[in-house]
């Protein structure tokens, strides 16, 4: 991709502009980051040679003095981001999710989190929807890897509107944050009145039998599934859980009390992500039957992202099937 092609637009945008837009969460990130840069001189951005893909190139174009391309060196990028944070800046460090959380995991643990450095790691290309690049580039473990580190906040937004809001929230929050974004275009799911808060779930509706707890692009699939199930007479609710850590325990208890079956749905390994977080909490506090939908402890593979969603069962149809099989 040429340098000029990756620059999408530089016109003024506000969070509300992202409402109702079907777009990739990484695109929303690129645009809102420029706005953030205009409003806060302490925002700095680092990237590891993927700025056209992560969309930080937009920020670089607007604020070249506050953008640091670190080359293909993610470990150094995380350490440098920590140093910038410790000198009073608010660094956003971006690359693909697998390299951010995999290659640089120990740097994030030791230097960023143990020092409580105010670094925002915004990783794009999370999950299977990376598509054709295949398993090496599909992060299915990133949420697990980040969630396990003390002090880290972990956010997986569902659409462009939520992305724009959570980027702003992260910039206002003092402490390390991991935000996982996607490559593929996702439909708008959150209503205009939606107000993202770190650690708060958003209830679309609570079902009397089944409740689907989802984040990222699985929220759209969960909504489609609930429509089908409700038509069949199975009372099904959908709850958006953008913050995997800290978990909204209050909402979870309310949901559990109204559920015969809980489904978790995420574009991530079923080990260590949202499904695990929900299961850990509810098994100790309000045991209820839970089925986790996600990638089942396997690597991804090449294909179009739509094919891959079907291949790994990350679809409304599969959610419906799992509910039918498990609702007794």
């Amino acid at each position: 991709m040429g340098k000029t092609e990756c620059i999408l637009s530089m016109s003024k945008v506000s969070v509300k502009d992202f409402f109702g837009k079907d777009m990739a969460t990484r695109d929303a990130y690129g645009h809102i980051l420029v706005e953030l840069g205009k409003n806060n001189p302490h925002i700095v951005v680092l990237d590891a040679d993927l700025s056209c893909s992560t969309k930080t190139a937009l920020f670089a174009k607007n604020f070249p003095d506050r953008f640091f391309n670190m080359g293909i060196a993610e470990q150094d990028m995380m350490g440098t981001a920590a140093g910038l944070a410790l000198s009073g800046k608010i660094p956003f460090a971006s690359t693909f999710a697998i390299f951010a959380t995999g290659r640089a995991w120990e740097q994030i643990r030791q230097t960023i989190c143990y020092s409580n450095a105010n670094v925002k790691i915004v990783a794009t290309h999370g999950g299977i929807t990376v598509g054709e690049d295949g398993a090496t580039h599909q992060a299915l473990e990133d949420v697990a890897l980040m969630r396990v580190i003390p002090t880290m906040t972990v956010i997986v937004p569902a659409d462009a509107y939520e992305t724009a809001q959570c980027i702003i929230s992260a910039s206002e929050y003092n402490g390390p944050v991991y935000i996982r974004l996607g490559r593929a275009k996702v439909p708008s799911v959150l209503p205009e009145e939606y107000n993202f808060k770190i650690g708060k779930a958003y209830v679309f509706n609570i079902g009397k039998e089944v409740n689907i707890i989802a984040n990222g692009m699985m929220v759209a699939e969960a909504l489609k599934a609930s429509e089908i199930l409700n038509k069949e007479g199975i009372s099904t609710g959908v709850i958006n859980f953008p913050t995997v850590k800290p978990l909204d325990e209050v909402s979870l208890l309310q949901i559990a009390r109204s559920s015969k079956l809980i489904i978790t749905a995420e574009e991530h390994s079923i080990i260590g992500g949202l499904g695990s977080a929900v299961s850990e909490f509810l098994s100790e506090n309000y045991p209820v039957k839970i089925k986790r939908i996600g990638v089942k402890d396997t690597f991804g593979c090449s294909g179009s992202w739509k094919e891959l969603m079907k291949y790994y069962g990350l679809t409304a149809e599969n959610i419906v099937k799992v509910v039918r099989e498990n609702l007794t």
């Binding site: 700095v44 003095d65 506050r66 640091f68 670190m70 080359g71 060196a73 470990q75 150094d76 990028m77 995380m78 350490g79 440098t80 981001a81 920590a82 140093g83 910038l84 944070a85 410790l86 000198s87 009073g88 800046k89 660094p91 120990e106 740097q107 030791q110 230097t111 143990y114 020092s115 409580n116 450095a117």
Partner: protein
């Protein structure tokens, strides 16, 4: 005129405190704390602008102990500067002590960043240096590295970054004591030539005897004059320096003195008292 004899005396006191706290703790890194004692003395008592009464003072110079296992050295110098009571040094490595086995910036004033996992400090120092430049601050950043530590690949990523962003407010110092846990650096994984490597990466390199206070002070003065590139002070040192029974012995990398050894060591150090 720099009072070199004052600096030498402070370095001696530093060594005494390091050995006393390590012996009390019963574990910790003796050799690499002693080898960098003269350099760290010159930084804290001669070169760096800092205020022990106001550790977060914006105008301070920053010190990153990338070789975090030399924590006793950092704790001793901070205590002697007055950041906290010297008596606290006796709690090193104990439960509930702010003096963790490796430095933790959240528990003790005067520590810029938590370190201990080797290879990461130079990147942080770069970030600090970039941030200070953005803030139009004249503060400088000093980063102390071990020689074995430069086997970590991240050091070379960071050395590219420092040069790429022309970080002339950054000075890295390598404590070249030539020993790591498993033996001589040359034998474990050859790191030489260090000077040529950093020169090739675009750094200004100064080679000194890391125990000669005059050379240390001169090098720290020189790096301030270097523009548009980062500086490296490659300090040839002796592991365990100052106490003959520890000098040049890889064994004392991660072993604390026994009380008998401490007695011998203190006698030797006190003989050198000015």
């Amino acid at each position: 005129m720099t009072d070199l004899s004052f600096l030498r005396e402070m370095a001696r006191k530093l060594r005494v405190e390091i050995l006393k706290m390590l012996t009390k703790a019963g574990s910790g890194h003796t050799g690499g704390s002693l080898s960098a004692a003269d350099i760290v003395t010159a930084l804290y008592f001669y070169k760096m602008r800092h205020d022990p009464k106001n550790p977060k003072w914006e105008g301070r110079d920053r010190f990153v102990l990338s070789k975090g296992h030399a924590a006793p050295l950092l704790y001793a110098v901070l205590a002697l500067c007055g950041y906290f009571d010297v008596a606290l040094l006796q709690t090193l490595r104990q439960i509930n002590s702010p003096l963790q086995g490796h430095p933790c910036c959240k528990s003790l004033p005067g520590i810029e960043v938590s370190t201990g996992s080797l290879g990461q400090g130079l990147s942080v120092a770069n970030g600090l240096a970039l941030g200070l430049k953005l803030n139009r601050s004249s503060s400088r950043v000093y980063c102390l590295l071990g020689d074995g530590e430069i086997q970590e690949g991240q050091i070379w990523e960071a050395s590219m970054t420092a040069s790429h962003y022309k970080l002339d407010n950054l000075c890295a110092i390598i404590d070249n004591n030539d020993l790591q846990i498993d033996g001589c650096c040359r034998e474990v994984m050859n790191i030489y030539p260090i000077d040529e490597k950093f020169k090739a990466f675009g750094w200004h390199v100064i080679k000194i005897d890391g125990h000669n206070m005059e050379e240390i002070v001169a090098a720290l003065d020189e790096v301030e004059k270097i523009k548009n590139k980062p500086s490296l002070i490659l300090a040839k040192t002796i592991k365990g320096k100052g106490v003959s029974i520890f000098e040049g012995k890889a064994k004392y990398h991660g072993v604390a003195p026994t009380s008998e050894e401490l007695e011998i060591a203190l006698k030797e150090l006190n003989n050198g008292k000015n």
